[in-house]
């Protein structure tokens, strides 16, 4: 990708940093995916989008606010379960669901996750750094065990099956475009948030909390708001997951699932807006391809992460950006200052 070739792109770059051109490229890629032969790649791309949204919601906390959450999957899972339960309630005896009911059940995810995030966040925002990470992990595990043990309400480890969307959305391509539309809408909202004064307060909190407090910013309140927003977007991703996978299970809330969001954000580049989405592309595609050849997927992805941490700090997008910047030798302008940090605490 050469940003210098084209004036239009160049302007895009000037305004949005590398996220601009990267977003355009990704958008083209995503719009054209269903043209690829084989339903399989459409399904993989749906997964990329859902997990990408999940990873980007995580990055609101990490990349923008500078706190690492190891319990973020709890909100992904809460969203998935809320949708699954409403979905099941709406289902007819024959197991069918009408399109409006289905869309309504998707709407159940974000508020449920936001509510969970409000409670968890209330405590988490009192802490920073490693304590924030540990408390979010502990809350995540607590929510996991609640879903896991509360058999009469959540069906425990069985999970909830039979989340077959209405006939029209059973088609992989249709569900894909539904997901794409929702994810694009969510990303636009997210972009607005991160570029708003609120978003800049987050960056201030990331870079220097004490200074933010001196400026009269209510640190905890703003952190909590961001936590809830991130939780709601994770819940939206979770809501899309259930009908996509046709079932949900408690593992969606566990710390290993949280780890996936962290992986994606750091692989793609946590300091950039679309980095986590790119991370999802890399991670999910790699998984789809590697598991075709070997069951040693953990070894493969572990090695990839190791190499990224050692040699590509800042993630793939972060690396590209650094290269461009150093070649141009120009200082970062205000427009893409957002994309410059690698998530300073």
């Amino acid at each position: 990708m050469n940003a210098d070739d084209n004036r239009g792109r160049s302007r895009l770059y000037a305004k949005y940093g590398l996220s601009g051109p990267a977003a355009v490229v990704l958008l083209f890629f995503f719009l054209l995916v269903p043209l690829l032969p084989g339903e399989f790649w459409t399904i993989v791309s749906t997964e990329i989008l859902i997990l990408g949204l999940f990873a980007m919601s995580f990055n609101l906390l990490y990349g923008y606010m500078g706190q690492i959450s190891f319990g973020h999957a709890a909100f992904f899972g809460l969203g998935a379960y809320a949708t699954a339960m409403v979905f099941t309630r709406f289902k007819t005896v024959g197991g069918e669901i009408s399109t409006p009911d289905f869309l309504l059940s998707l709407l159940a995810g974000p508020p449920a996750a936001a509510l969970g995030a409000l409670i968890v966040g209330f405590f988490c925002v009192r802490l920073t750094g490693i304590y924030f990470a540990m408390l979010s992990l502990a809350f995540g595990e607590l929510l996991f065990y609640i879903v896991f043990s509360w058999y009469s309400f959540t069906k425990g480890d069985d999970g909830i099956q039979g989340l077959l969307p209405p006939l029209f959305f059973q088609d992989a391509v249709h569900y894909y475009y539904l997901t794409l539309a929702i994810v694009i809408a969510a990303l636009l909202v997210m972009w607005r948030i991160t570029e708003s004064p609120f978003g800049y307060i987050m960056r201030t909190l990331r870079d220097n909390q004490r200074r933010a407090a001196f400026l009269g910013i209510n640190v905890r309140l703003h952190m909590l708001m961001n936590f809830v927003i991130a939780g709601a977007f994770a819940g939206l991703a979770g809501a899309l997951w259930g009908p996509f996978s046709r079932s949900v299970s408690p593992g969606l809330l566990g710390w290993q699932e949280s780890g996936i969001a962290v992986f994606m954000a750091l692989i793609g580049g946590a300091g950039t807006f679309v980095g986590p989405l790119l991370g999802s592309v890399i991670y999910t595609l790699l998984q789809a391809v590697v598991t075709m050849f070997t069951t040693y997927w953990p070894l493969t992805i572990g090695t990839v992460i190791l190499l990224i941490v050692l040699f590509v700090p800042g993630g793939v997008l972060g690396l590209i950006e650094q290269r461009i910047k150093s070649r141009r030798g120009q200082a970062a302008n205000a427009g893409h200052e957002a994309a410059s940090g690698t998530g300073k605490r």
Binding site: Y62, I68, F70, F123, R126, L127, G129, I130, Y131, A133, M134, L135, L137, A138, F139, E141, L142, Y145, I146, S149, W255, Q256, G259, V262, F263, L266, A270, Y296, P298, L299, I301, G302, T303, I305, L306, V309, L310, P313, T342, G343, K344, R345
Partner: protein, 295 residues
């Protein structure tokens, strides 16, 4: 509930507590000194168990089966894994000291996946176990496993040994000083990297030792580490990062609470543990016995 049932439940809780302490001691030490949260700790514990198994198996073939062979097997595995820990620090962990916290976490996370799969490559998916021919003994109107006494004694001995090491030896004192002020220790001309390598190797050695000690109770199998690491974190968080006394007390709290939850509210046992973690983190984020971390 009668007194003997109470005592036995307390006993089983203490046994679980010592299991948790042995598992968490190394984790706490590494975190306290190096500020690195090692996700791979339980995976290294598992590897230690597998190595102990292989050594025990090999020696049984060489010298004839005897339960006492477990002792050299554990020591051998501890030595091997300590060396492995040293190498890990030297070639991987050391590169991330000047990095952000998440990158360090991610590195150890990657090690969980890599080491787990390497164990699968070497030992296959079948469980590995040893049999010492342990017979239950009668006590307080019920039966207990005599090996639990070994576990409890080992836990107390390791705790005492660590205390002696940290408070009475030169290296230990330096390590303790490094918990409080890295720069001060460095300014005194003590090479911090050497301290770190030693501490990391020691932590991994402790994990491997624990793996060997549990082998007679628990067949080694893939994936156990994923469940155990979260419980280790719970213990370390409650006790306070870097505080050996805290880790010990926290292990006792978690073990006993878990044990009695099973008696009264079995479904909530694990949730109880995380509830304690949350309460501690909210009330005293640095743990019961920890000191607030340097920034």
């Amino acid at each position: 509930m009668d007194l003997s049932a109470f005592t036995i439940q307390l006993f089983s809780g203490l046994s679980r507590a010592m299991v948790l302490f042995l598992l968490s001691a190394g984790l706490s030490l590494i975190f306290g000194v190096m500020n690195i949260l090692n996700f791979a700790h339980a995976t290294l514990w598992l590897a230690g168990g597998y190595v102990t198994y292989s050594m025990f198996d090999f020696m049984s073939g060489r010298f004839g089966a005897s339960p006492w062979l477990l002792l050299p097997a554990i020591l051998g595995a501890t030595a091997v894994m300590t060396a492995a820990g040293f190498a890990l620090e030297r070639f991987l962990i050391r590169r991330t000291y000047d990095r952000e916290l998440p990158e360090q976490l991610l590195l150890t996370f990657a090690l969980v996946l890599i080491i787990g799969d390497l164990i699968k490559l070497v030992w296959g998916v079948e469980n590995r176990r040893i049999s010492l021919g342990i017979e239950p003994i009668e006590m307080l109107d019920t039966f207990v496993n005599p090996y639990h006494f070994v576990i409890i004694a080992t836990g107390v001995a390791v705790a005492a040994g660590l205390w002696f090491f940290l408070h009475r030896t030169r290296f230990g004192k330096i390590v303790r000083a490094a918990v409080y002020s890295r720069s001060m220790v460095s300014a005194l001309g003590i090479p911090i990297p050497a301290i770190y390598a030693g501490v990391f190797a020691l932590g991994v050695g402790l994990a491997a030792f624990a793996g060997g000690v549990f082998l007679p109770l628990l067949p080694m199998s893939l994936g156990v580490d994923h469940d155990i690491i979260v419980q280790c974190f719970a213990v370390v968080v409650i006790g306070g990062f870097g505080s050996m006394l805290g880790t010990f007390v926290a292990a006792v709290i978690v073990g006993v609470v878990y044990s009695f939850s099973i008696l009264f509210w079995p479904d909530g046992a694990l949730a109880m543990v995380f509830l304690i973690v949350i309460l501690v983190l909210i009330w005293r984020p640095w743990g019961l016995f920890g000191t607030e971390l340097r920034s």
